[in-house]
Symmetry: C2
Subunit: 388 residues, 2 copies
């Protein structure tokens, strides 16, 4: 098994920077606060048009024509429409399965958010809050969502697998990402008690989730768990006979390398990729098939300025005001990094680019120069990937 895929990020789980129009005229920084800032009717109108237009059948034909095998689809905890004021989106996922099956793609369903969040990131649903694992009822709710997903899609031809939970955060990454300063809570009272998850909790949750999912999903489909940003901490995990087709998902961004002090040059990036990512994946591939479920070409060098670990105008870090890196230079940087990263993923069992599509406007909006590299479609249009 080797999977080549893209994420359909920002379709069913919103990220403000990826579709700014949805948040226009509001002070909301995340999906949680968006409905509190709009009338019910306007919220519904925006979300429904977004879902209908952001991803449609034609995106599946494009992804297939790009040579991909699969899509990873982030879904929110309210996918089944049972958590007011949010609007469910299971009909959209149903449609996606029909498109995928028609055009020969497979779907990795990725449960991307949890009530009160598993990481405090904006893309966890509520910025600056990370309390879900401390709330037993919500933990049970999340398990129920996984169970319902397995029940509905477990035997579908188009199902590649289900990912238990996206990016639950532990102590180390909490510090590296400087979550407390980078993602300030809109309501400090609601954020009270926020802290990273414990490894003990996450392991227990994964084990329970595995059992709940497998009840409805045949052995040949994959159960995917995220490494919680600790790629090498899982050597003793799920070693028993009963665990079938379990995949370890690691997310690797160059901006994390930058945050860890990697120099902003092609040579340093590629050394980092070769010496850290490729080696660690190779090592962990002995225990599980390892996929890189999120990665991209983005880096500060091609932006022409230090993004301080991928921070944007949205969190107060100015981007370049004008292009300073020529198209030829970008081509050189991105091609080298694409090759290095694709080589690293080959030590494992595949990858999903983040993300297939972004609406970030690098021409009309100041500060976004260089951010087109998050967009798989644009990267392909520009010829930044090596021909395989």
């Amino acid at each position: 098994m080797y999977v080549k895929g893209v994420n359909l990020g920002n379709w069913l789980v919103l990220e403000k920077w990826m579709s700014p129009a949805l948040f226009e005229g509001t002070a909301a920084e995340d999906e949680y606060y968006l409905p509190t800032q709009l009338s019910k009717e306007v919220y519904e109108a925006r979300i429904k048009i977004h879902r209908a237009e952001y991803i449609s059948e034609r995106d599946f034909t494009r992804i297939k024509s790009m040579g991909m095998d699969a899509v990873r689809i982030p879904v929110p905890y309210f996918i089944f429409g049972d958590r007011e004021p949010f609007i469910g989106c299971v009909e959209e996922l149903d449609k996606a399965f029909n498109w995928a099956e028609k055009y020969g793609l497979q779907i990795l369903i990725d449960l991307h958010t949890a009530p009160d969040s598993q990481n405090g990131f904006d893309n966890g649903g509520i910025s600056g809050v990370c309390k879900w694992s401390q709330e037993p009822d919500e933990v049970e709710f999340e398990l129920g969502v996984l169970e319902r997903l397995a029940k509905r899609y477990g035997t579908r031809r188009g199902l590649w697998g289900i990912e238990i939970l996206n990016e639950p955060i532990l102590e180390n990454m909490w510090k590296t990402m400087d979550v407390e300063n980078r993602f300030r809570p809109a309501d400090p009272q609601k954020a009270e008690g926020t802290r990273p998850n414990t490894m003990e909790f996450i392991r227990g949750f994964y084990l329970q989730a595995y059992d709940r999912i497998r009840t409805y999903m045949p052995d040949e489909k994959y159960v995917v768990f995220h490494d919680a940003f600790e790629l090498k901490a899982w050597k003793d995990f799920m070693r028993g006979e009963k665990y079938k087709n379990v995949v370890l998902d690691t997310h690797q961004y160059l901006m994390v390398a930058e945050a860890l002090g990697c120099e902003q040059t092609v040579e340093s990036y590629t050394t980092y990729i070769r010496e850290n990512l490729a080696k660690d994946i190779e090592e962990m591939q002995q225990y599980f098939p390892v996929i890189c479920g999120e990665w991209c070409l983005f880096n500060s060098l091609a932006c022409g300025c230090d993004t301080k670990g991928g921070q944007s105008v949205l969190n107060g870090v100015e981007g370049s005001a004008a292009e300073t890196v020529s198209p030829e230079e970008k081509q050189r940087i991105y091609s080298a990094l694409a090759k290095a990263q694709l080589d690293a993923w080959k030590k494992g069992s595949g990858y999903f680019y983040w993300s297939y599509k972004l609406l970030v406007d690098t021409v009309n909006e100041a500060g976004w120069i260089g951010w087109d590299s998050w967009d798989f479609g644009r990267c392909a249009d520009f010829g930044w990937f090596p021909k395989e």
Copy 2:
């Protein structure tokens, strides 16, 4: 000059079949009645998200990477935001110019609608109504819009030209298309007095429009006029010295051939294209550079059923319930028709495919099988165009 381009249809001028979600829960069949069926807030929310997401910067990189030189952008008469309850969209066109200039594309601005309509089609803005040319104030308003467009964009590097008016209809096409039965007015009283335009009026309008546009637009930019579905009726038109860089635009769809009795076989379609389209374009190319400003691969044969001249489930004609034409057979049909049509356009000065993007769902919605051929992106994904 030879131009290869695509239309950005349904972005700034709506067509229900191309983006059904916008019309959901309403009885509106066209852009005119949509705001009468929604609250002001919901209408605005739907339109704004649609405009922000349907076409964005990444579409310009894609179109460029497909080898195109230009886009034709249909705009409504209310583009400047001065006709309540409609919402203007000149900011979107501004953005498009910036994208086009960044990525090396040119824009043909196409004034696609007129108050009370110039053709009675759904895409003229109001189905079953065709009275604009009988209303002198509205005719003057339309000239004013052209003037303002020329003033705002006339000297932009990204401007290819301005098209005076899309598809004003005359007596012949009125009958061929059976407008009165195909596009029933929602309000028969409003439609009273509806009839095709006269050739005399259209000629006069074009002459006036030319003068108004040229005042602000340098000679090297193109003034484009549509043939009003009478390709060969313009031999004596605009012959004077003063007319510079005038382009004749003709729209040619196989569904019109079908409506005129062309048999639904590859051989008959290609004969029709060779004997009619190619010859007529070659003849008219002696008078003006001729472009085929709208065309596509759509035909009844590949749908697997007679669409009666391209009628859809929206106007009560059932489509195929399941695929009956194999992918290989579609490939054969579409490739042959693509080649024949592209050869015909080569007798003239270029083309614009209709359309770059459609949201029609051929998998989850019954009756739309075969309609993916209207979508340039999907046609490219499927490899239906010959490599040039």
